[in-house]
Subunit: 254 residues, 2 copies
DNA sequence: CGCTCACTTGAAGCAAATCAATTAGTGTGG
DNA sequence: CCACACTAATTGATTTGCTTCAAGTGAGCG
């Protein structure tokens, strides 16, 4: 196996000095253990917008963490219709759903220029046998993914278009804030079409709902740029009361 | 906590002799390791229909495996509406979504008389540090749960009522078959109301859809008893028939 | 400059929700 | 054992929120 030489630019983003390290896998690890984790991580060239990270039924070998940019994952049914199952922001792990079958049940595409950390799963699994904290953190992350999917399920099952879009925006806002981005002003990396697909609605419904939110003064949009004027109103619409401050409060969806 | 003495009847269902052991956690473990797992498992009295296994925001201490019967899990939003997030059959593990926060994001109720195996998570985690196979199996099960939730998501996002109910029944049929039950004749442990909630539909729609399936000769029902006459047709409805509403759509069955 | 693609907006259609009325089981107490 | 209440399920009539169809609009780009 040829080891790709690590560039200076890549070295700068080693786990230890990575700004995401308390959102990502290294959380809870001490310096020595982070170094050991660091050694197994491959940092490849960034993906451009539209490039595949992996494809459905590709063999599963690695877990990926987003370092910058964003990734969407989606499954394709036999009829060819596509369902987006996840949107991954910096610090989040992709590929955990592939462990049980050994191949990817979904495809993953970069929504913008995106750099990633690749962790060969076998090596990671071995390492986590030696480092209980790492082991625990992996469980926590997988558990969180399950809980996220379940609240997204709730959204789909019994929420109106307004509630779904509001919940989506609030969730995004919360996650961006945790990454030191603005919680009220950001660029959507997904198109209206993707958002609609993700939320189980059509592109027209998304567009109309954005327009209505805008006319109600809740937010303003300019294509992909979103400026939330009344985050509280949006949270109320999403079905979240302001007294719940837990970052993983049920109703806040992935 | 007083340790409840293990009854002879409980001993009979030790992992080693349990009929579910290749659907459940012991899969892939050798005899010695199964014995070690067995030692940490508590087998409490069965729950009666309607009894809670745990409640939302209860502290998370244990993972549970269903031995017989069935369990539903559900979350409650702040507005009080309830969303069923899971139906668990013998051999399946409950509580994996609670690891990351340390408390249960959902409640769990017995749908019928149900017996369970309780595994204190801390002990289980320690043990899995010592037994790589167990560790691996836990990852596989969690990964499967993620993949399951994601396909349920797809169902919710873009399937018609017919497709949802068909998919639900096919899924149930498949899981029952794996447990050596009939794949065409079984009793639903969920009420119409629960099924509707689980699939994001109303009780009336479930009832009407059952009636139509019956008039089309696909199945017959008598309250909770279901007899599937044409499993192939049901599978076609669940997976292959498109939700295309165009009159000339090739996938349309007259 | 004109082409394309993403988005917006309007009008019409439809699947499922809601409202409403019965019927069939289930349990309770006299 | 039967009347009574109560819940679960079915079936019909009506409404509605979202989709579909259709016709723009405007930004980005060769």
């Amino acid at each position: 196996m040829p080891t790709t030489p690590i560039k200076l630019s890549a070295l700068k983003t080693a786990c230890k000095s990575c700004s995401l390290h308390d959102l990502c896998l290294p959380l809870g690890l001490d310096m020595g253990d982070i170094d050991r984790l660091d050694e197994i991580i491959k940092r490849n060239r960034p993906l451009h917008k539209g490039e595949y990270l992996f494809n459905t039924s590709d063999e599963f070998t690695s877990i990926f963490a987003v370092r910058s940019g964003s990734i969407k994952t989606f499954t394709e049914s036999e009829q060819g219709d596509e369902q987006i199952t996840g949107l991954y922001l910096p610090g989040e792990l992709i590929g955990l759903d592939a462990i049980h079958s050994g191949s990817h049940p979904c495809s993953a595409i970069a929504l913008e220029t995106t750099s990633l950390c690749e962790m060969p799963f076998e090596t990671l699994e071995d390492l986590s046998g030696e480092i209980p904290e790492l082991h625990h953190q992996l469980f926590r992350i997988m558990s969180k993914e399950i809980a996220n999917d379940q609240s997204l399920l709730m959204l789909m099952a019994q929420k109106s278009a307004d509630e779904r879009l509001a919940a989506f925006l609030v969730n995004l806002s919360t996650r961006l804030k945790a990454r030191n981005f603005s919680e009220t002003e950001f660029n959507l990396s997904m198109s209206r079409k993707d958002i609609g697909n993700y939320l189980g609605l059509t592109i027209e419904t998304i567009s109309r709902t954005f327009s209505r939110f805008q006319s109600e003064g809740i937010l303003s949009t300019q294509r992909k740029y979103v400026n939330i004027h009344d985050l509280q109103a949006l949270k109320a619409l999403a079905g979240l009361s302001s007294n719940c401050t837990k970052p993983d409060c049920p109703g806040k969806t992935a």
